[in-house]
Assembly symmetry: C2
Homo-oligomer: 201 residues x 2
């Protein structure tokens, strides 16, 4: 797949973005290849030309796009958790992101449609989780260095727990439509970070 003219790359990109958008709007189950072709003004042969693996390969590519977007949507806050104020802003950002998405989670949706749990699909999510957790952990370490969080706390452990709080909150929102659990869990997680911190503050 070395040769890829400018035109070809553009077409591939158009298909990918069109697929992602259609999935966001209608869900994976209600997204057929023909839907994507119609929306992007492309033909079957083009889709299979750029995604030889067909639907599966395309969905995986969409998953990667969505995974990247998850982290992007949390920037710049996620990358700069250097004060309690920043943590609070990040918290609000996360809640707002999922609230506005309103009971939709393209990534979760795509994942569940990928054959069983393809190794490739698992890898995409696992890597997302790793990166996400690493950024949170970095924030925890920074706060510890600044003497705002108890140095005895294990940053990775805390980050893992916080990440689970978010995932669970979002998952529950998928069914209930409410962000109450997400907020409760996040607040508890932040309270835990604050707890037992040096009394000097």
């Amino acid at each position: 797949m070395r040769p890829l003219t400018r035109k070809g790359a553009a077409t591939r990109q158009r298909i990918l973005e069109g697929a992602a958008t259609h999935i966001r709007e209608h869900g994976v189950a209600d997204t057929t290849l023909d839907d994507i072709l119609a929306r992007t003004s492309t033909s079957k042969s083009q889709l299979f030309h750029y995604f030889p693996g067909g639907r599966e390969e395309l969905l995986l590519a969409v998953a990667r796009v969505e995974a990247d977007r998850v982290l992007e949507d949390q920037q710049p806050q996620l990358g700069d958790l250097t004060s309690w104020d920043a943590w609070e802003q990040w918290r609000d950002r996360v809640v707002e992101r999922y609230r506005s998405q309103g009971g939709q989670c393209p990534l979760n949706s795509v994942m569940s449609q990928l054959r069983g749990n393809t190794p490739g699909a698992q890898a995409v999510v696992t890597e997302l989780m790793n990166r996400w957790q690493a950024e949170i952990a970095a924030g925890v370490r920074h706060m510890q260095a600044a003497g705002q969080i108890d140095p005895g706390l294990d940053p990775d452990q805390a980050a893992a727990a916080l990440l689970a709080c978010i995932q669970g909150g979002v998952l529950i929102q998928l069914s209930t439509g409410r962000t109450t659990h997400l907020e409760a869990a996040l607040d508890m997680g932040l309270a835990h970070l604050r707890a037992g911190r040096p009394p000097s503050f």
Copy 2:
């Protein structure tokens, strides 16, 4: 559907259990009606006789079965969170249950295959969450009454957060195959319950 002879009820039950089992073993995506028929030695007409709504209705019924099972698997601990020891045992029980399930969550799997998010499907999960949270909250209240948890803590809020911890931990396990996040989140949740409790203990 008033008349339902013993034989009929047995057949219906056989189909339901066969479907649930097959889904647990192969996942929803790889479960066709024909698979279920073959496994349960029944015919198309029987399936549609007892589940006029077809696949959708059957999956919903399976979802209810699995939802019930989730809570049952946590008993008797979940219903008797009256000491720190009981809470710990419950924690271990939850972790063990999902560890043994090994990266499978029949309920989540079934849910994601139900048309978009059918109201009926949402109702099943929402009710499960409500019952689950209520049991946890009851435990919190009991501990408060016994003076083991800070009375200032909102039981429902805490239960909601704890529930999200579990959901998130399990969700992450679906991709990573590890229960580390589940354990970290649960431990953090329990630590939060203990925090700020009356110093008399």
